[in-house]
């Protein structure tokens, strides 16, 4: 069988602790089930042989039709039992294996550096965590047990026959590797073909996606017809492509079957060759036995070709996931240390994304209890600085410290306990408001949640909602307005009550009255904490103890507001062009 497929299955089982023995038990019983299914033909052979046997050898209980009926009934019950145990165990076992695998993958993704996660579009990651895992689930629940039992049972049968009629069994056994070899040879082509198919599908998918996203705009400008003809051309191209691809995909399975079924022809040829020997020695019963069993043994093997094809498809998914599982996660210390104070320090920090230096040799210090503002045009590296502070990734050079300890020695878990953060893209999950806020501290009491809402200026709008704090926020918080979403994020950070707060105050898209409400909430959050903020508003800039001006990842100026204005440099330029207001 396919080595890579076996490796894939072994890897997934290696990742899981639960369920693998159940899975194995299930497969063994599936093999037993298929083996018992051969018994009726043996009974038939027994009957056929009887007239030629001496009476002493005839078993009295198996001579009447009734006797045969009983024997066959017994076989049926056995087969049914094996089938039930085999299916139930292999299903439950495989779901347990994949459940463990899924959880492992989910948790692994979270531990990857954020930059790595952001490099791939979130929909692609989602596809990995849903579609690809489902394919692996199908390997285990459906394909693998069928494939193994369909392959193993006939092979065992043929090996047994090898002892009874070596010549005939051998002639058939030679063909099986040959047939599998045909499949194996076609593999490279198959992978090519599968990739080509995926690619052409992706192409038409992106054209269609584009079309649907554009449709409202297209209709508003009366351009839908023009784009439809463009779409038609693309789909036509994909169609031509798919047809070629499909023919290449179907060929190997068909060839496999041809080679396999040649076993019948091979057998009859062997009969012709051995005929002179047997002509005078009487009826060759072993050959008759083999002839009776041959079709039954070939039957499951017919399916193997198809199972292998499907398996290969799924194995592609497994390899994709394995690559992700092998990606290095952020290194965590063996003995995490906890800082005694909350000064934040950047020491000659550089961070690269691909070839681009996003942060270039940045150093600063934010003493505990003070506020530092970061200003700079969009793309100057402001959010990257915040992300480094929160250890969403590690710097390439230099180090980030809290209380004099390198974040690498505090560990992600420790850092995240110290840091509260309000992101620019407000991060809400599609659950109720209270569930969203309670993320801040999972064991917070209802009163504490309400208190946080009050401080974050949320109660005023929450009380107006139909289900109050239990209202669902919709996908990405869609059902709430921008200002409401921000205040919920602030309530969450308040509930967490961390000594350090990282803030991206994106309030420009809010109307003045909402904005003032959000600002009150923000100010409540910032009290008595060490704060790093990406500042957009005058009052937060003026109130900062220190301001750094970023340009192309470098700190070009720093100091307090008035001193910076007096310098008439970058800060003044930004101030006058109001680039700080650009979001």
């Amino acid at each position: 069988m396919d080595r890579q497929a076996l490796l894939s299955i072994a890897r997934v089982i290696g990742h899981a602790s639960a369920g693998k023995w159940r899975f194995y038990t299930g497969v063994v019983f599936r093999v037993l089930e298929r083996s018992v299914a051969i018994a009726p033909l043996l009974l038939c052979f027994h009957w056929l042989q009887q007239p030629f046997l001496t009476t002493s050898k005839i078993e009295p209980w198996l001579s009447t039709p009734m006797g045969y009926l009983m024997a066959l009934g017994g076989c049926f019950v056995m087969q049914l039992l094996c089938a039930y145990i085999g299916q139930y165990q292999s299903f439950v076992g495989s779901y347990q294996v994949v459940h463990a695998y899924r959880i492992k993958l989910i948790n692994h993704v979270r531990k990857l550096p954020l930059g790595r996660v952001r490099r791939t579009h979130s929909s692609e990651f989602l596809e990995v965590l849903t579609e690809d895992i489902k394919k692996i689930e199908s390997i285990f629940s459906h394909i693998a047990p069928e494939l193994i039992s369909a392959l193993v049972t006939p092979v065992i049968g043929l090996v047994v026959m090898l002892f009874i009629t070596p010549i005939y069994a051998l002639s058939v056994l030679i063909l099986l590797p040959l047939a599998l070899w045909v499949m194996q040879m076609s593999k490279r082509k198959f992978v090519q073909v599968a990739t080509a198919k995926q690619q052409s599908y992706r192409q038409s998918a992106s054209t269609i996606t584009d079309y649907i996203e554009a449709l409202k705009t297209l209709k508003l400008y009366d351009q839908a017809q023009t784009w439809l003809s463009h779409l038609a051309k693309q789909l036509e191209k994909t169609k031509q492509h798919s047809l070629q691809v499909e023919m290449w995909g179907a060929g190997p399975v068909l060839t496999y079957r041809i080679v396999l079924n040649m076993a019948l022809s091979m057998f009859v040829m062997m009969l012709a060759i051995t005929l002179p020997e047997h002509r005078f020695s009487g009826i060759d019963f072993t050959a008759i036995l083999f002839a009776l069993l041959l079709i039954k043994l070939l039957e499951p093997l017919q399916e193997v070709g198809e199972y292998l094809t499907v398996l290969r498809m799924a194995v592609q998914s497994e390899r994709k996931l394995e690559l992700i599982l092998n990606e290095p996660v952020l290194a965590e210390p063996d003995n995490p240390q906890l800082p005694s104070n909350f000064d934040i320090e950047f020491e000659r920090v550089s961070f690269e994304q691909g070839v681009k230096k996003v942060i270039d040799d940045v150093s600063f210090c934010v003493p505990q209890g003070t506020t530092m503002a970061i200003v700079g045009a969009s793309g100057s590296g402001k959010s990257t600085l915040l992300n480094l502070c929160a250890r969403f990734f590690d710097p390439n050079l230099g180090c980030v410290k809290i209380g004099g300890l390198d974040l690498k020695n505090i560990g992600s878990k420790g850092v995240h306990q110290l840091v509260g953060m309000v992101f620019q893209d407000i991060q809400l999950i599609d659950a109720s408001i209270v569930e969203n806020i309670r993320i801040g501290r999972l064991d917070a009491s209802d009163e504490e949640v309400i208190e946080a809402c009050k401080t974050a200026n949320c109660l005023e709008f929450i009380d107006k909602l139909p289900n109050g704090i239990n209202t669902r926020v919709g996908d990405g918080g869609l059902l709430l307005s921008g200002g409401q979403r921000q205040r919920i994020a602030i309530a969450r950070a308040l509930l967490k009550d961390a000594p350090i707060v990282l803030l991206d105050e994106a309030t420009a898209s809010l109307d003045p009255i909402t904005q003032s409400q959000v600002i009150i909430a923000m100010n409540n959050l910032l009290q008595n904490r060490t704060v790093v903020t990406i500042a957009h508003r005058l009052s937060s800039i003026e109130g900062a103890d220190n301001i750094i001006v970023l340009e192309q990842g470098k700190v070009v100026e720093s100091g307090c507001h008035h001193r910076l204005l007096a310098q008439r440099g970058h800060y003044t330029y930004l101030w006058n062009t109001q680039a700080m207001q650009f979001v």
Partner: protein
């Protein structure tokens, strides 16, 4: 074309739709099926030839080597011929399936283009995408593989039954006596599969939604140490999925194993029957052997058929989902062109109410817009501003009241008429892969270079474009990924202005402009387009000093309207908002003497 009704006739079953999809390719499907008949018949030939060789074994004295070699050659030929026929059948079925699939997708895309804006804006684009892509994908597999394979699977047991019946009808009957029993079992155990499938897909979708949240909110998950266990929502859904899968396994496995075992048990009655018929000399030994060989796995294809019907849920669900779009009917009568009647107002909201899911968004909105001037609607978010914009361009229709363009209901206008009279910049600015010029002209060929220049100036991107090395020929990436939100908005504004229609609606289109640019923008559009009426929706109160009409929207009602000065004195809400924003802006006064400063350019 006008949309008459999106209601589909209730009797459109998914199967009839699939049938209708295949109907144009009857000829090819017929060839595929005929070839499949040959395949089915040819499948029996090797079995018969094998029987002949067993016959030779039983009578070794009368057998000859040539005879056996001929049999071997016959088996060989039959197998090759069968494979050739199968290849042919698949070739034709694939041709049909790809043609049909392309056609269905194209039909759906065309139907969508003919749907009204109202209908479109009520749809989730992700669902529409799924409709055209995934939902129809199963049709391909059905036509290309399943249809011919099913045909073969139904035909095979019938042919085998007939052949055995020719040997002895009692043998044939005893081979299939398990079939009614199997069907009885399946009726007993498996009537719930559709419901189970539904439950499974619900739970599975639910899990996907939460996983999507998990991936999108990765910073949040990191920051709050939320792994699969601590993230309660995810944990719950993973558990639920796992439990349901176990429950369904426990429910389906007994019935399914009994069913398949019964269909595999044709020997249980066949062999005893054959033996007892043989003992009364009704059949010969050879006949028994032949019928036994033929009966090996004869009923297995039925399992394939029932497996198909269990899995057909997905195919049918997909077809059901596309049905409303696929079957939508449009009346072909061209809509009457709008008469430009100067006595009627260009645009008028006539006592408009709008409710969204029992939530009143707008109530009694009633106003005319001032022609050839700027009409600005201000208000806090969540007060119905965007709803009002969508009503104005026909993306929504009022619950009661009327929105009219020259006395005609906006939501009844055809695409071509509407686009002649108004252009709209919504909050989602769609940009496509192409040059900046293509994106601004957007397929309209009659624009003069003068008109293009004017639009670029007014949208305040003249300076930005002149800085780009390729200017207007700069390549825009898919969905404008290489541009900032502000840049995208301004390109969309230029696109709206370039055809200089009588009415331009801007929904928060200037949100990303800073205060200075915004003021310049308001002046520019009035200077460059004196004959165009603007309806501007904004939350910013700056730069509105010299504007024709300002409407203040609060909690779904227009609480005040007039010029800036009038509102400052008459509307408390307006004054408060303006002061709040003004105080921030006022303090940020320019610092003199910095104009000679040039920031260092790091892009060496």
């Amino acid at each position: 074309m006008r949309v008459e009704s999106h209601e589909t006739e209730g009797h459109c079953s998914p199967w009839s739709i699939i049938f209708a999809i295949c109907a144009p390719y009857k000829g090819k499907m017929l060839i595929a099926f005929s070839l499949m008949v040959l395949v089915t018949l040819l499948e029996i030939v090797p079995v018969y030839l094998l029987f002949l060789s067993i016959q030779a074994l039983l009578n070794p004295l009368s057998a000859s080597i040539e005879q056996l070699l001929w049999i071997a050659a016959g088996i060989c030929g039959a197998i090759l011929l069968k494979s050739g026929c199968a290849m042919g059948a698949y070739y034709f079925s694939h041709q049909v399936s790809f043609k049909a699939l392309t056609k269905v997708r194209m039909t759906l895309a065309t139907q969508l283009a003919n749907m009204s804006l109202l209908w479109l804006s009520a749809q989730n684009p992700a669902v529409l995408k799924q409709n055209i892509l995934q939902d129809v994908e199963h049709i391909e597999n059905f036509i290309a593989h399943q249809s011919v394979e099913l045909f073969n699977a139904i035909l095979t047991p019938c042919v085998v039954f007939t052949v055995i019946a020719f040997i002895d009808w009692r043998l044939a009957l005893s081979a299939v006596v398990v079939v009614p029993l199997a069907f009885f079992v399946s009726g007993l155990f498996m009537h719930k599969t559709a419901g189970q499938y539904e439950r499974f897909s619900l739970v599975s979708e639910d899990l996907t939604t939460t996983l999507s949240d998990y991936v999108k909110n990765m910073p949040l998950m990191k920051l709050y140490n939320l792994d699969s266990e601590r993230f309660a929502v995810l944990n719950r859904k993973l558990d639920k999925y796992q439990k349901l899968v176990f429950e369904l396994t426990a429910q389906t496995v007994p019935g399914w194993t009994l069913y398949t075992a019964l269909l595999g048990a044709s020997f249980v009655c066949l062999l005893p029957a054959a033996i007892s018929l043989h003992s009364t000399q009704s059949v010969t030994t050879e006949q028994v052997i032949l019928s036994i060989l033929l009966a090996v796995g004869m009923l297995n294809p039925i399992i394939k058929v029932s497996r198909f019907f269990m899995e057909a849920n997905e195919l049918l669900a997909g077809v059901k989902r596309i049905t409303p779009i696929y079957m939508a009917r449009f009346s072909n009568s061209a809509s009457t062109p709008v008469k430009v009647d100067k006595r009627l107002p260009l645009m008028q909201f006539h006592h408009v109410d709008f409710a969204y899911q029992s939530h009143q968004v707008l109530a009694g909105v009633h106003f005319k817009i001032v022609p050839n001037s700027l009409n600005v609607i201000v208000g806090a978010s969540g007060n119905g501003k965007s709803t009002l914009a969508m009503l104005a361009c026909g993306l929504l229709s009022p619950s009661s009241g009327k929105v009219q363009l020259f006395g005609q209901d906006v939501n009844l206008l055809s695409d071509s008429v509407r686009s002649q009279f108004m252009s709209v910049v919504t909050q989602e600015c769609y940009l496509f892969e192409g040059t900046l010029r293509d994106n601004i002209l957007f397929g309209r060929s009659h624009i003069s270079s003068d008109g293009l220049e004017r639009a670029i100036m007014a949208a305040q991107i003249k300076h930005w474009i002149s800085q780009l090395p390729d200017g207007l020929e700069t390549q825009v990436q898919v969905r404008g990924q290489n541009l900032s939100g502000g840049e995208k908005q301004r390109i969309a504004i230029a696109r709206a202005l370039v055809a200089a229609p009588p009415l331009v609606i801007l929904d928060e289109a200037a949100a990303a402009m800073d205060n200075v640019t915004q003021s310049k923008f308001y002046q520019a559009i009035q200077t460059y387009y004196p004959n165009t009426t603007f309806l501007v929706i904004t939350h910013k109160y700056l730069g509105l000093e010299s504007i024709g009409q300002i409407l203040v929207l609060k909690e779904g009602k227009i609480v005040s309207q007039g010029t800036h000065d009038e509102l400052l004195s008459s509307c408390d809400y307006y004054r408060r908002s303006w002061l709040l924003q003004h105080s921030e802006g006022e303090q940020q006064r320019l610092v003199k003497g910095s104009s000679d400063f040039q920031p260092i350019n790091y892009e060496a």
